[in-house]
Amino acid sequence: MQLDVLYFAWVRERIGLAKEQVTTDAQTVADLVKELSVREERYQAAFQDMTVVKVAIDQTMVSLDAPLKGAREVAFFPPMTGG
């Protein structure tokens, strides 16, 4: 499966890019996080505490155990601070 993976705010800064294409067999968001974290240290730095990282699949907020099946776009970001 090929996914667009997006990063925002300090997640983006730690990983060092805003968007990339990832080819993965991960079943869930948590699997994808694990897969990326072992890949390179910068992912591990961004994902070390997943209680402060939020996830959206195709622009809808989901939990870590959400299945990736059918997903086109996955985004990781800190809790929002707009307003």
């Binding site: 705010a9 959206a56 985004a75 970001f77 809790p79 601070t81 707009g82 307003g83």
Partner: protein, 149 residues
Amino acid sequence: MSVSVQAEDFDLGVEVAAMTSGNPDIGAVVTFIGLVRDTTGGALLSMELEHYPGMTEQALSQIEQAATKRWSLNASRVIHRYGNLQTGAQIMMVATASAHRSDAFEAAEFLMDYLKTDAPFWKKEHFKEGGEWVASKAADDAAKDRWSS
């Protein structure tokens, strides 16, 4: 009911006039404006607002629809800026129009509480010594949760 995500500034008076003009049923308009605040007494150079294009508009529209379902509103408007803003600059506004003030007030507070936690915006404060991401507040989650009871 309308949502804008934009770099440009906005004019509160113009927005409110556009919302209410020609609608004799409106008796009450509540607005909220968020401004760039310098909590350091002068050290803030600017505030940068990042957002998630596409998801932002969708999230704001969903929040606005939820408010419209819950309160009797004649009109509503949400504007949120992104980019680099100076101290005192307008960051965003919500406006709600209704026959009665209680609907307008409650809906405006609801919009703000959900916007704070559900709309994908992130603030970074820039100082001489570097930048710092604004931390989210537990109080904002609590403020949102009060609407679920």
